[in-house]
Symmetry: D2
Subunit: 189 residues, 4 copies
Amino acid sequence: MDKNITIGVVVGSARKESYSRKTAAFVASRLPGAFETRTLHIEKLPLYNQDYDDEGTTPPEWTAFREEVRSLDGFLFVTPEYNRSFPPLLKNALDIASRPYGKNVWAGKPGALIGVSPGKIGAFGAVQHLRQVLAFLNVILLQQPEAYLGEAARFLDERGTVTNPETAQFLETFAAAFAAWVEKIRDKR
Amino acid sequence: MDKNITIGVVVGSARKESYSRKTAAFVASRLPGAFETRTLHIEKLPLYNQDYDDEGTTPPEWTAFREEVRSLDGFLFVTPEYNRSFPPLLKNALDIASRPYGKNVWAGKPGALIGVSPGKIGAFGAVQHLRQVLAFLNVILLQQPEAYLGEAARFLDERGTVTNPETAQFLETFAAAFAAWVEKIRDKR
Amino acid sequence: MDKNITIGVVVGSARKESYSRKTAAFVASRLPGAFETRTLHIEKLPLYNQDYDDEGTTPPEWTAFREEVRSLDGFLFVTPEYNRSFPPLLKNALDIASRPYGKNVWAGKPGALIGVSPGKIGAFGAVQHLRQVLAFLNVILLQQPEAYLGEAARFLDERGTVTNPETAQFLETFAAAFAAWVEKIRDKR
Amino acid sequence: MDKNITIGVVVGSARKESYSRKTAAFVASRLPGAFETRTLHIEKLPLYNQDYDDEGTTPPEWTAFREEVRSLDGFLFVTPEYNRSFPPLLKNALDIASRPYGKNVWAGKPGALIGVSPGKIGAFGAVQHLRQVLAFLNVILLQQPEAYLGEAARFLDERGTVTNPETAQFLETFAAAFAAWVEKIRDKR
């Protein structure tokens, strides 16, 4: 078994008490020993504008982010839903590291997606729109299990503990499936 | 006929030579005399974070933008596609003026959508994802004609003139359908 | 007020105890007095194949269905979700009455959509995919309120009564919004 | 190398001169020697209705189809677009072999998707909706290259030959990528 698999954790909310961030931390903590995780700080990235790359004024935050994404072995995306789709914060990060044209650094790496919402639908709309984007970016996504975690206040307490045993069990299963997927996809790259 | 209908023009690209902006300007110029248009400067808006509203640190750009959207009678969205979906720039504007919860200022107003891309698919993916968002925001969208304008370099010259007569004709038809739609939807609000 | 508005009710399931059919019946019963409803029997329609129209072997069920759709004033679609999208039964009906090319008899008429499912997500995936189709068919769809009715066994009893008062209330609000929408869209056709 | 990989070819059109069927035949002919293909005759399948399984009146065509799908090693889906989504013919086949509940025989197998249309957009809407369904069915889909083949009359002649060299080249690349994907995904099942 490979001993040094580093997963970038990408959270679609910058809110301090984000349910998505807490859920991401729980899943990260349940990955097997060979896995390390690193949270990507996407909230610092200036909004994408192609002119910056074209005119040689690429923001240094973009350059650093692209290098970080390139160095990673896979990605765990955890996102809320805003208005039946994903947050601009997350899409901005995806767009930045997909460019300049021909230099998509997400490509060919394994990934998985979790939707988290206070309502019942579990960010289904955000997750499906992201799947369309990530397929284009050639992130090799885990198909099943799906993860739509609704009514987040019922399974997370204020300190970020997953207090609902059924949800904790599901997330452990999800973490195991993701870990197996990462190892499978990486294997013959 | 109402003589003072003001349409907010929302362009999904901040690139200087944006095909979307040029297309938007052409359509705006073809609206009937009763219509005025105003370009919304969404590229200045700080990225959405719910904490700002919750903690009383709402950026003044957000407040001004929400007031501007509230004052308008309808919206024309023209967007490129980034990675098979819409640009974060545009989604950020939609999210900001949809909040705080219960204060969605897009709601109940007529709108229309145009996709513009250098490739053949005409931003179809961006347009469809936006339709899902705009339906949730209760923007009353024109259904037909659809507008997926591909191979933009073939119908626009460097100064932004629509040089292809077929495209110009289509956009005039689109402008007329949008104007009729705005008048119909506003009528009994 | 127009006294004779006839709404076609289209249910995406042929199952005898379909939750969608029961929900549709409840909403139909809550429409104002000027409205009549008629259930469209889409389960009898042979699967769409363009050859039948091209070769002059159009099934008589298709012809009758197209005439029926043409005669109606609006549509209420109520659908379950199969595998994160809509049932083929419902899409087949939509396709048949959209053809032959140029003879789409759904076009220009008002409509509304309700998703019903035994799980929590309320057929969100089915509804969103249908919205994309119905926008293309130029059905003028009610945007809000959305209707994703999950956990159907909790609000419907065996005889099809909506036993949950909150759901009944919501569906009455929905029926009223749909009726107002139909009258608005029809008004200036 | 495994010498006996059997791929089920699923075509979303029953039209005799279907562009999708011709495209599928071309791709099938370009798979490496270890691959066999078998066309699934989905046009014979009665429309899905859960009652048939529940009441013990499962149509024999369904039973045979489920057994056939179970026996296969992977799937190539080639589809036209009807009204901005997939044909009911294809969805019906997917639904039938996904049921009864818990007996989804598509699951865990590799697959790929090609959209073919007479217009420019290359069935993009059909392909994206299918991706959502196939992810749920746990078909392990090839992400890239995408295949949206528009203006089909320009690359296919009447006998089904791919006459456009660029398209032929693309489809050969696609066939090679699909073959490599099937071998990778099967390897550690």
